[in-house]
Amino acid sequence: MLGDEAFRLAKEAKDIAADHIPAYNEEQVRLVTQETRYLWTRIEEMIASLNTAVADQQRGGSSQTYPGSSQPYGLPNQQKQSQSQTANTQQSAAQAEIENTNAQTALYFLTLNRNKRCLLAYHHRRAQFLRSLLWTLHLASSMIPASLSLRLSSEEQSYARDYARLNSTYRDAIENQLCPSDSLNWTADGELPPRDLFIEVRVIKDCGEIVTENGVVNLQAGTQHYLHRSDVEHLVTIGYLEHVNPS
């Protein structure tokens, strides 16, 4: 069936969840684009043949050959009495053939648009996933886990880098405008309001030292600290620290 390859892409796009993305199916994308290009050349051929066929019909329709269009009905040897009859069947056969070609062109054109839509939706969904991934990583495109970056194509990886860079430039411009000598806290969670000022964290991965308001704190794996929320919130999101809840 004509639209099946594109449908497979759509199904893969559906598989994308908040924490999982299947590998970029370059083979499938190539197949779909190939099919689309083939369809387009076929459409052009058919329209050319249609133009000549319709022109021939308008000229009287009694010409022997229709250049370009395939004539499934052979031309029998006419005798004088049946000449008009054969001319009529020839006419209706040609008419049917024209209608077939019309329908075929319409079908190919629809499939072409469907392929295009599936391709666009696939890439759109993946780009959406990439963007939300970058925001959770606080726009550090270098911090994408290796297992994930394996599943992205090279264009997607450069998209991630460019997106991060674009955002940082924008951020810096805003900071320069609003508070030239200070810096805003961009890593605060926009959706969940903070509950307390200080939080208790346990270090999972070694982060080195961070500068807090009370001085320098050395974050070694396995230690527990009681720190300002704003200082360490971003490290919790990316998994270096763990929030220990006193319940």
């Binding site: 069936m1 004509l2 639209g3 099946d4 449908f7 759509a10 199904k11 796009a13 559906k14 908040a18 924490d19 999982h20 099919e35 083939y38 049917a96 209608e99 077939n100 019309n102 329908a103 075929q104 319409a106 079908l107 190919y108 629809l110 499939t111 469907r114 839509r117 599936c118 666009l120 939706a121 759109h124 969904r125 991934l133 959770t136 990583l137 886990p145 297992s147 994930l148 969670d189 969940l192 509950r195 939080i199 919130e233 919790v236 999101t237 990316i238 998994g239 763990e242 929030h243 809840n245 319940s247």
Partner: protein, 183 residues
């Protein structure tokens, strides 16, 4: 609007459902072997086409599209009779989405869909609240894609409530992506 319909994956998936049609012209490329020349289907033959194809070809009068058996009169009567026992996953995985797309053709579809949905979603919400329930497994397996998504949302809401009880609601959590990738 374009964002909701054009890029919407569920819309694309639901549009792939087949409807029976009668062709008015010879068409090529409809066989299961791909667009090979051997798969020509002649006029006045019946063939099941995907909805996206059938709808547009119907407008141009190259095919005559008929109502899919999923929403035939007989089926609609069955749906009205007992919504909760219908095996939607077996009938049509994208039942609601597909019904929305067919809405122009069959005028009773809005009522049918609404009836089904209202009855079933009550049961879905009740199952979500009960947690692990073995008896409801049959029903859960008969839900279509829209309803399974609803079920997942309800279950997430339930776990959010229990988190709040345990004072965990405001705990900062590691992003799902990181934990899935890091492990």
């Amino acid at each position: 609007m374009a964002r909701r319909n054009y890029y919407d994956i569920d819309d694309i998936l639901a549009g792939q459902e087949r409807v029976p049609c009668v062709l008015r012209a010879d068409l090529d490329g409809l066989g299961s072997a791909g667009s090979g020349g051997a798969s020509k289907v002649h006029r006045n033959a019946r063939w099941a086409l995907p909805y996206w194809m059938a709808d547009r070809l119907n407008e141009e009068d190259y095919v005559d599209m008929e109502v899919s058996p999923v929403f035939s009169k007989r089926a609609n009567r069955m749906y009205a009779a007992s919504p909760e026992s219908m095996q939607l996953r077996a009938i049509c995985q994208h039942y609601y989405q597909f019904g929305l797309q067919l809405g122009d053709m069959v005028p009773e579809i809005p009522h049918v869909l609404r009836n089904m949905y209202v009855q079933r979603v009550i049961k879905v919400a009740r199952i979500a609240q009960q947690g692990q329930n073995v008896e409801a497994l049959d029903f859960v397996q008969s839900l279509d894609k829209t309803e399974t998504r609803m079920l997942k949302l309800c279950q997430q809401a339930q776990s959010a409530i229990s988190d709040w009880h345990k004072n965990q609601a405001y705990a900062l959590k590691r992003a799902a992506v990181v934990s899935a990738a890091g492990s």
